[in-house]
Amino acid sequence: MTDWRPEELLICRLADALAGDRHVAVGAASPIPGAAALLAQEEAPRRMHVTVLHSRRYNHFTDGGRELFDCAGQGRIDTFFLGGVQIDGQANINLVGTGDYPTLTKRFPGSFGSAFMYFAVPKVILFREEHSPRTLVEKVDFVSAPGCSPEGTWRRGGPTLLVTSLAVFAFDGARRRFALESLHPGVTAETVAERTGFAFDRPAEVPTTAAPEPARLERLRRTIAPKVAEFYPVFAERVFGVTEPAA
């Protein structure tokens, strides 16, 4: 029995990945990345900017909907989060649907800004809680944004990590391949292998994702949770039991 919730583990792991960033941006419908960014900001030794698009308080853009993309184009966003209906072994992501384009079998909303952000932001963290052969596939049905690009293509960065409810993978852009980096407490490598539709590198010994330290959990629950309640009230109440946003 643990004294932390799975969401808290994910938030802490994602926050670790943001250390040293000057500006982290989080898109819509991302409570866990949003909380991670605010936690990393709280723990940063120097000033760190956090933009949570879905928030009024943590969104200081004043140049309209294009500013996120312009800001990334300028190289002012160090880390961004992307997800996917499907993510494949080459880190291609699909937000459009499954089946044959254009009619598809199942149509999803669409690519949003991924086809640009994946190129413009140095570190992109892929985050998808559902870890199944349906979401982590060998090859996506539609490339909303490619994980890798040929030489000569303008690209500042790309995928660095894939974080799911079961494990953390690191992406090696040169080899175009994921490697299992850590297993969340209680998860076996066999479970991950079964539930992953793409091939990946697997070290002999896979470490366990570090459990959140008590002081950090305290910080998350006391200081960050009320902030998250401003923009994701339902999430904040469910995970942290917080009903009042920070003043």
Partner: protein, 283 residues
């Protein structure tokens, strides 16, 4: 006497001003969606619309698509956000009844900025190797003329026939308060005609102080304004009211299938679904 006066028109007249088949540009849910005007447009009856979403749409697009009024959509996404997938959109695409021109947010912004600046195209980074690009024969990849061996995408300018949005207020001169929703300025600059609904028309001019002037879209870009209190409902009106997730949830539930959608639409057009008289069907 100088003819600088401005008079709002009715919601019905505003809906009349949107021709069938128009390339209709609309903002996202956070930008002030003219939902009351959309209902007026559906009441009038419309068809063949080509929606240009800056950069995505929620309830507005799904509703218009569900009625069959939309021939084509260009957007980065159509979704009901936390209320789930946009059901009529998904059904129309899967049924082959809607041409979806999949795009990505910054491309939708940039193509309007090209129109705003009166240039025929804008370059955009990224996109190379995506199936978005592969399915857009109207976009071109050129070699950057300033650096050999550097491919880059060019997007043709998009000039919407009509831009339609909702804003908190207009002043007595017809200037429209858009606040920091600057994409509405680009929308109006780019479009041939701009139609706006507002919560209210206030006295005086936003240009009386610099602090309020910075919030204004000048009347110069606005063809007509209609007053529609709670006119963005159940979407948000930036700075005034938030979205109404329960009302959007009601739609999401009703629109799961064609029959439920038809029933919802009838009630909507009959005025039985409205900000102040929200009917909730028993589950």
């Amino acid at each position: 006497m100088a003819m600088t006066a401005f008079a709002p028109i009715s919601l019905e007249a505003l809906a009349e001003a949107i021709p069938d088949g128009a390339l209709l540009a609309v903002p996202p849910d956070y930008g002030g969606v003219a939902m009351a005007a959309t209902v007026a447009l559906l009441r009038r009856g419309t068809g063949g619309l080509r929606l240009y979403c800056l950069p995505y749409s929620t309830l507005q697009a799904d509703l218009l698509i569900g009625t069959g009024a939309v021939a084509e959509v260009e957007a980065a996404a159509i979704t009901l956000g936390e209320q789930g997938l946009a059901p009529r959109f998904s059904a129309a695409v899967e049924g082959g009844r809607l041409t979806m021109r999949d795009s990505t947010c910054p491309a939708l912004h940039a193509a309007l900025q090209a129109a705003e600046k009166g240039v025929p195209f804008m370059p955009l980074r990224g996109l190379l190797g995506s199936d978005i690009l592969a399915n857009r024969p109207d976009w071109k990849v050129i070699d950057n003329p300033f650096e050999a061996g550097d491919p880059i995408v060019l997007l043709p300018a998009v000039v919407p026939d009509v831009a339609l949005f909702h804003a908190p207020r207009a002043d007595a001169e017809g200037n429209v308060w858009i606040g920091r929703r600057r994409e509405l300025a680009t929308l109006a600059h780019a479009a041939k005609r701009t139609l706006v609904t507002v919560e209210e028309v206030v006295e005086g001019s936003f240009f009386e102080s610099e602090g309020s002037a910075a919030n204004a879209l000048p009347a110069l870009y606005v063809e007509a304004v209609a007053v529609a209190p709670r006119g963005a409902w159940p979407c948000a009106c930036p700075g005034l009211y938030d979205a109404d997730p329960a009302a959007i949830g009601d739609y999401a539930k009703a629109a799961r299938d064609e029959a439920g959608f038809r029933d919802y639409l009838k009630r909507l057009l009959d005025g039985r679904i409205a900000p102040c008289v929200l009917e909730v069907e028993p589950a």
